[in-house]
């Protein structure tokens, strides 16, 4: 089967109105999302997330590089036949009812009327809008409009979903439902590309992410890989005294007492096991040993801060085009990121995995 979403060396340079300034929205990114993945695209404002999605959908033409959906070039309208899109800040005609909206956009996706009539009620049920099926969209709250947008994106049962801020304005229960719905779609083999500012949503929903910064992929990979904190552990044990701590340190480990537990850094797994053996030999009892992880938010903030938080107008550098591949990480690629390996997270607040 063709790769659901693929971009190679994608760049986009906007010119100012009188052609006096070049603004680089994308500086040559590679992106590959495999079937059944829920892939998150992260980045600060202006990082190039929406431009990437728009190029994939043929709404914007790339300056260089190529993009394809399900093996067809993004410029070919046929590539969108099996793709559903929920744009950010979409505006459905207010005079349409929810049912009419699904009918029109279903037919615009090439569905016949009978199929749309069958599928629309099912989808409205899935997004909890059944009771509002015949109410005009202009009466809808933002969250309801968002849920309708999701239904419109899914009306033709697409194989690929591109969603720009799908939970924007949706209440916590609704968010949870959308999350469940997307995961259900992924289980059915659908591919989802999620573009969101809500890092906690991404963390809970996505298998893999790519962080864009200044039009480049700053980091990419599985969330566990990005948030892994090296050989750092939370240690809870009895019988740990200063003598034992000094003995730990003599082996090269770093250990600190933090809020009733120990923050332990070791060289590797063997080193950790050796320390545990030593603890037991000294009569101590292990209660908990947990690898520490940073949150996705910490990773994100670190990455953005590295570049001074700016994301606009970064000049393209053909030598260092970043890439994010949804394929399983290879040892060479540092967890699926090509050209721009994930930056190590800084000393930020940790949470147990």
């Amino acid at each position: 089967m063709a790769t659901p979403i693929e971009a190679v060396g994608l760049s986009k340079v906007y010119m100012s109105r009188f052609g006096t300034r070049r603004i680089t929205a994308l500086g040559g990114i590679d992106l590959r999302v495999e079937q059944g993945q829920v892939f998150g695209l992260l980045g600060p404002n202006g990082a190039g997330k929406t431009t990437t999605v728009k190029i994939l959908l043929g709404l914007t033409r790339p300056t260089s590089g190529s993009a394809s959906l399900l093996g067809l070039p993004a410029s070919n309208p046929e590539s969108r036949r099996r793709v559903g899109y929920l744009p950010e800040g979409h505006r459905f005609p207010g005079y349409l009812t929810a049912r009419q909206t699904l009918t029109i956009f279903g037919r615009m996706s090439g569905m016949d009327s009978a199929l749309v009539r069958r599928r629309a009620p099912e989808l409205l049920e899935r997004v909890r809008l059944s009771e509002w099926a015949d109410v005009r969209v202009k009466k809808f709250s933002k969250g309801m409009t968002q849920r309708l947008g999701l239904a419109a994106a899914m009306i033709h049962d697409p194989e690929v979903l591109l969603l720009d801020e799908p939970t924007d304005g949706v209440d916590p229960v609704g968010r949870r439902e959308i999350r469940d719905l997307l995961q259900e779609e992924a289980r059915r083999g659908k591919t989802v590309l999620l573009n969101s500012h809500l890092l906690s949503e991404i963390e809970r929903t996505c298998d893999r992410v790519a962080v864009l910064r200044g039009g480049r992929v700053a980091a990419a990979g599985r969330i566990e890989e990005l948030t892994a904190s090296g050989s750092r552990y939370k240690l809870v044990a009895t019988g740990v005294d200063d003598v034992l701590l000094a003995a730990f340190r003599e082996t090269g480990a770093s250990v600190q007492r933090v809020n009733g537990h120990f923050d332990l850094s070791a060289r590797d797994l063997d080193h950790v096991n050796a320390l545990v053996d030593r603890l037991r030999a000294a009569g101590g009892k292990l209660q908990e040993l947990t690898p520490l992880r940073t949150s996705l938010e910490d990773v994100f903030v670190d990455l953005v801060r590295e570049s001074g938080g700016g994301a606009h107008g970064a000049p393209p550098n053909p030598q260092s085009g970043g890439g994010a591949h949804g394929a399983p990480p290879s040892p060479q690629s540092g967890g699926g990121a090509h050209g721009a390996p994930p930056s190590p997270p800084g000393p930020t607040s940790e949470r147990p995995s």
Partner: protein, 284 residues
């Protein structure tokens, strides 16, 4: 094809929902009712014995007026009025079609579907033209029926006037689409199209204007503009002449119909072609 048809239907649905369709047909109905109420004819033995316009008695000439002659004159004059009314109403009702489509948050919804950009634009154009055609048919058909009902004279040539009116609407709507694609503004589309309409009407006097200007360059410019722009004044005359048939006065005769219709059609095709090209290259 389904997407194209759905988009055409959407034009009608939008027109109905936004009151455009209702206002469009309500104004046309008002025009028709005014006409029906204003004209009161007294016909005796196939000749006009008396006539009232807006309740006022019209002084008839001494010679007897044949009723079919009256209907012909009446309908041919009225086709000229309909040319302007139909054109203006049609442009008002359709000028928003492109600017509204290009609004942020709307265009993404349409272009993310498997429909080509040119097809999408042409579906809007087709929808707008069908809307205008329905209205022109309604106005012409209703007035034709009223005249036939009041005079018992059926003069089918009057119905032909709709063809020239629709041809002119198609041309100017193409230009309105072009302005709409470039500016995304309904107001500018309307102003630009009306400007072309009036400028082209003034340029119908291009021979006199060219003779009156002081330099050769300006004269050539006037001639150039005349041939580039649609021939709105000539087409107005052509509408009347088409209805009058052999009875049309000499002043309504178009000297070179192929050039008039041809250059106008070329303007429309070029406008729509350019609009399609720009729309297909635009970044949203």
């Amino acid at each position: 094809m389904r997407a194209f048809v759905a988009s055409v239907q959407e034009v009608f649905r939008e027109a109905a929902a936004r009151w455009t369709l209702i206002a469009y047909f309500a104004l046309s109905t008002l025009f028709i009712l005014l006409f029906a109420a204003a004209v009161n004819l007294d016909i005796v033995n196939g000749a006009l014995a008396g006539m009232k316009l807006f309740g006022q008695t019209v002084d008839l000439p001494d010679r007897q007026i044949r009723i079919d002659e009256l209907v012909l004159g009446f309908e041919s004059t009225f086709s000229g009025v309909l040319y302007f009314v139909g054109l203006f109403l049609a442009l008002f009702a359709t000028a928003h079609l492109v600017p509204r489509l290009q609004e942020k948050g709307t265009i993404d919804l349409y272009l993310s579907r498997p429909i080509g950009r040119v097809s999408l634009l042409l579906s809007r154009y087709t929808g707008g033209l069908l809307l205008a055609a329905a209205n022109v048919a309604y106005m012409i058909g209703a007035i034709w029926l009223i005249v036939a009902w009041k005079t018992r004279v059926f003069h089918p040539r009057f119905l032909l006037s709709g063809i020239v009116i629709l041809f002119t609407i198609a041309t100017l709507m193409a230009f309105a689409f072009l302005v709409g694609v470039i500016t995304s503004s309904t107001a500018v589309s309307l102003m630009g199209t009306y400007a072309v309409f009036f400028l082209a009407a003034i340029l119908a006097l291009h021979t006199q204007i060219s003779a009156a200007v002081s330099t050769e360059i300006v004269a050539r410019l006037v001639e150039g503009f005349y041939w580039v722009l649609p021939k709105t004044a000539e087409l107005g005359k052509a509408t009347v002449a088409l209805v009058a048939g052999d009875e049309a006065p000499a002043r309504l005769t178009i000297v070179n119909p192929v050039a008039i219709y041809g250059s106008t059609a070329l303007f429309g095709v070029a406008s729509l072609g350019l609009a399609s090209w720009l729309f297909s290259r635009k970044d949203f």
